[in-house]
């Protein structure tokens, strides 16, 4: 039972984390310069973005729930189960982030989820 509660926590926190991370990074704009100094100043700016702050908190919840999960269940269960987050994330990518989620993306997500079911057997 505990492991299913942890799975649910990982899924919800990952969804919030990924969507907010995407919103924050989009607000910041595309990263072009990957020299150490430029990365440093970009990290400084990104760390002050409120979406990125929410995302980091959500990712921390996801991370600690995941750590607890892998301490009571095998990785072959814990890692693929978190893939269920693909469904709410794809729905929000379309509804909130206004991405063009065409049939190939939905079919890809479908294949991956069925694949994840088999990979846990």
């Amino acid at each position: 039972m505990t492991k299913w509660i942890l799975v649910l926590m990982v899924i919800c926190a990952t969804t919030v984390g990924d969507v907010c991370r995407s919103l924050g990074m989009r607000q910041h704009g595309e990263l072009h310069d990957f020299r150490p100094g430029a990365i440093g100043s970009a990290v400084g700016m990104i760390a002050r973005n409120s979406y990125v702050i929410v995302s980091t908190c959500a990712m921390a919840v996801s991370f600690f729930s995941f750590m607890k999960l892998v301490s009571i269940a095998p990785m072959s269960f814990a890692v693929p189960m978190s893939a269920a987050a693909f469904i709410p994330e794809t729905l929000l990518a379309k509804a909130l982030l206004k991405e063009a989620v065409d049939w190939r993306r939905w079919a890809g997500v479908g294949l991956i989820l069925i694949g994840v079911f088999f990979i846990t057997q």
Partner: protein, 144 residues
């Protein structure tokens, strides 16, 4: 319908930008996938060595000082940074399924490092996930 990356109407200049963007996307996708799998594997190895640590937050923080857990956390920080960079130009509905190939890499890592078996069912899953990733990989990196 969205234009595929083989669209023939692109000007040479746009095509050049497009190709360099695709190379950058592929490089960061590979870095994201490898740091994710290596980070999760190290973390799992550490947590399995520690056993059930109970529910106290202090025990979780103490676990961070275990060498394998610490390595896992360091690799997951690399994953965070490369994943954020990728999302600064690529769609979430592109990044998420494409980086799902990490589940396949994880299955092979589990086989090699943790001696978990790859059953027939698991091979089926590996094939399906790979097909799904290939399908999404054929869509445009950015649609917004």
């Amino acid at each position: 319908m969205n234009s595929s990356r083989a669209g023939g109407t692109r000007s040479p200049a746009r095509s050049l930008t497009y190709n360099s963007n695709l190379r950058k996307t592929r490089l960061f996708a590979v870095l994201t996938i490898l740091s994710n799998v290596a980070g999760n594997s190290a973390l799992t190895k550490g947590m399995q060595q520690l056993g059930d640590i109970g529910n106290s937050p202090l025990a979780l923080i103490a676990a961070l000082f275990h060498p394998w857990v610490a390595l896992g956390v360091a690799l997951l920080i690399v994953w965070t940074l490369t994943h954020m960079a990728l999302l600064s130009w690529a769609d979430l509905s592109y990044v998420m399924p494409v980086t799902a190939i990490s589940y396949v890499v994880t299955a092979f890592a589990a086989r090699l490092l943790l001696n978990e078996n790859i059953s027939f069912a698991r091979w089926t899953g590996i094939v399906l996930i790979t097909l799904g990733v290939m399908l999404v990989g054929r869509t445009q990196v950015n649609t917004t």
